[in-house]
């Protein structure tokens, strides 16, 4: 949903073999609802699971050969 101030809605984009980039009007919270401080307007969330600063990406996916497409993966065996 666009915010009242006209800022764009949040978008989440998986990048090929890389993290999720999150842009727009959003908040990142832990499970208790506490907001995590954000250092920048566009953030990268870990998708490979191996970052040493989760939930943020630290580039480790490149060291472990993480592969994933930007769009949906085909059904296994399809």
């Amino acid at each position: 949903m666009p915010a009242d101030d006209g800022s764009p809605p949040a978008t989440i984009t998986p990048y090929p073999d890389g993290p999720y980039l999150v842009r727009g009007d959003f908040a990142l919270t832990d499970q208790q609802g506490n907001e995590l401080p954000l250092e920048r307007r566009t953030i990268a969330l870990c998708r490979c699971g191996k970052s040493r600063m989760r939930p943020f990406c630290d580039g480790t996916h490149k060291l472990i050969g993480f592969k994933a497409p930007s769009g949906p993966e085909p059904w296994p065996g399809a």
């Binding site: 990048y15 090929p16 073999d17 890389g18 993290p19 980039l21 250092e39 920048r40 307007r41 566009t42 953030i43 990268a44 040493r52 600063m53 943020f56 990406c57 630290d58 580039g59 480790t60 490149k62 060291l63 930007s70």
Partner: protein, 339 residues
């Protein structure tokens, strides 16, 4: 903070002597174009790289005692062109031509190129074994670029169509601190230098930077000043961002191991997170976007990334070889302040 102002460095040979002598006088006169320049190793040639660096520096900074209108003086530009030719040829010799398959997905090709980075493990060495003196040297070398980080890539802005331009600005806005001057990456680097007891004044260490360090900056300035190299400039940025997160974590670890606190490591820690964002935007939206809209520059995007890695590899080898021999990698050693 005042505008940039550097001192003319000491010349290192006939080209820099001729150039600096002319720059001290009125513009447009007395700068004859040198004959054919054929250094045996243009990439690390002290005289050639210094003369080119100062000729380029007119676009970034004031130089004490030098009339600012030298920047666009035809005789300066013609002199500079004579310096650029052997440099560009030396870089081109290091870079294989792009393959047709790579041009089908420039983003994927960039991932492959950086995965096969030809450089030696400098950041790993510094992380695990770097002494304080060597870490300081590495920082002094890097200050040649980091104190103007992002600036040469900004020259691409007016040359790009909307999609890649938007991607570039998304990266650059963050590089320039996201609206906060204090968080500008060049300012963070200056803070790191000050915390290490180094002088963060722009251009302060120019006399100490060897030719190969100047070449790392001359490469991106060369791409940035020539519109025809917009592909290479974009590829250089993508390659830079894609090889940044992991080495910067290692440099931060080195400083922590040596007992430095967050005020010194912040530049590196910030780059781990920032460049994990930037590398994706740079590879897929900026480089991929430019290749989609201007396929004729796609090969030059890959050239820019490969040229970056080759020149950086040569620079890193210089540091590691010098240290292996027990020598400083700078032209003159840093004198420890009242150690």
């Amino acid at each position: 903070m005042a505008g940039r102002l550097i001192e003319l460095p000491a010349p290192r040979g006939p080209l820099s002597e001729q150039l600096f002598e002319a720059l001290a006088g009125p513009p447009h006169t007395r700068l004859a174009c040198p004959g054919l320049i054929e250094p045996s190793d243009a990439l690390a040639d002290e005289d050639l790289q210094l003369a080119l660096y100062v000729a380029y520096e007119l676009h970034y900074s004031s130089i004490r005692g030098v009339d600012e209108s030298w920047e666009w003086s035809p005789s300066l530009l013609s002199f500079r062109g004579a310096l650029e030719r052997p440099f560009e040829e030396a870089v081109a010799e290091l870079v294989p031509p792009a393959e047709a398959a790579e041009l089908e997905s420039v983003g994927a090709a960039l991932q492959e190129i950086v995965a096969r980075d030809p450089g030696p493990p400098l950041s790993r060495y510094v992380e695990t074994q770097g002494t304080r003196e060597r870490v300081l040297e590495q920082v002094v070398h890097r200050s040649a670029y980091q104190l103007k980080e992002a600036d040469p890539h900004s020259w691409a802005i007016p040359r790009l169509s909307p999609r890649p331009k938007t991607a570039l600005l998304e990266v650059q806005f963050d590089e320039y601190g996201g609206g906060s001057g204090e968080r500008m990456h060049s300012a963070l680097f200056a803070k790191t230098m000050a915390g290490l007891g180094l002088d963060p004044t722009y251009g302060r260490y120019l006399d100490r930077w060897p030719g190969i360090t100047l070449a790392t900056v001359n490469l991106v300035t060369n791409f940035g000043l020539h519109r025809r190299r917009r592909g290479a400039l974009v590829g250089h940025l993508a390659g830079f961002e894609m090889t940044s997160s992991i080495p910067n974590r290692r440099y931060g670890n080195a400083l922590r191991r040596l007992g430095y606190g967050e005020e010194v490591t912040h530049f590196y820690d910030e780059h781990v997170e920032a460049d994990a964002v930037h590398e994706n935007i740079a590879a897929w939206d900026l480089a991929g976007g430019l290749a989609a809209e201007e396929p004729e520059v796609a090969a030059d995007i890959l050239f820019g990334a490969r040229a970056l890695l080759q020149v950086e590899a040569r620079w890193a080898r210089h540091l590691m070889d010098s240290w292996e021999r027990g020598e400083t990698s700078l032209r003159t050693p840093l004198v420890p302040a009242a150690a």
